[in-house]
């Protein structure tokens, strides 16, 4: 599944890199501790988190994530948006909590 379809199905709003949504997603990773995400997430995962500061972008770049979903209505800082745009990491946002987004995404990609 690519990010365009995922954005549609999960009703996400796109905060940057609208032109990069054709990127394929192979799995999901959820976590708010950067050290854990660095250690355990995989390439082409979409990362679900409530961390909105700009350090998340660096982690996503290094791990080659397909994109980041910010949950619980958290808005990315201006620095975060700027950084993500430069690096080409799509930032998606939702008012739903992480558990719901993970549940719905899991349902979409494991069926």
């Amino acid at each position: 599944m690519n990010l365009t379809l995922l954005t549609e199905k999960l009703n996400l709003e796109v905060r940057c890199c609208k032109d990069k949504l054709d990127r394929e997603v192979s799995g999901g990773y959820m976590g708010d501790l950067l050290s854990d995400v660095m250690a355990n997430s995989k390439k082409d995962d979409v990362w679900i988190t409530c961390q909105s500061h700009q350090n998340v972008v660096a982690v996503s770049v290094l791990k080659e994530h397909a994109g980041i979903i910010l949950v619980l209505g958290k808005e990315p800082d201006t620095d975060t948006i700027e950084r993500a745009s430069q690096e080409g990491i799509p930032l998606l946002v939702t008012d739903l909590p992480g558990f719901e987004i993970a549940g719905r995404l899991y349902d979409l990609i494991t069926v």
């Binding site: 619980l72 558990f99 995404l105 899991y106």
Partner: protein, 126 residues
């Protein structure tokens, strides 16, 4: 689902609160940020987290979580388990990651303990 069924589904070890495995859980809150648990978790929900320090037990006690489910196969330090027995908070530990754990529980009918955030800080209950 009752806690025993959750433990079976996720192949989880019961580390504290064996006697509470009959407790029914309908909602969940997944987070590694305890600030978010404090702000958004609802009474009766199960806390799903990758943290293992004793603070998770104190927070579960403060917000009235029904249980704590630790992910990624982490085993908490003894202080955490002792405190959990003392404050009567069951702890389960599963090898699955937070995403997989949440996905499986959601597929089995557990829902998020809040529907969504509407405007700054106002929470829409289920």
């Amino acid at each position: 689902m009752i806690l025993r069924e959750i433990a079976d589904l996720l192949d989880a070890k019961v580390l504290a609160g064996e006697k509470h495995l009959g407790v029914e859980v309908k909602t969940a809150f997944s987070a590694d940020l305890m600030s978010d648990v404090l702000a958004f978790a609802k009474p009766g929900s199960i806390m799903i987290t990758g943290l293992t320090n004793p603070q998770i037990v104190r927070i579960a006690s403060i917000v009235d979580n029904s249980a704590i489910l630790i992910v990624r196969g982490k085993i908490p330090p003894d202080e955490t388990i002792t405190l959990a027995e003392e404050l009567d908070i069951p702890i389960l530990s599963t090898k699955y990651i937070l995403f997989e754990t949440s996905g499986r529980l959601y597929a089995n009918g557990i829902v998020g303990c809040i529907r969504k955030i509407e405007g700054p800080g106002s929470v829409v209950p289920l």
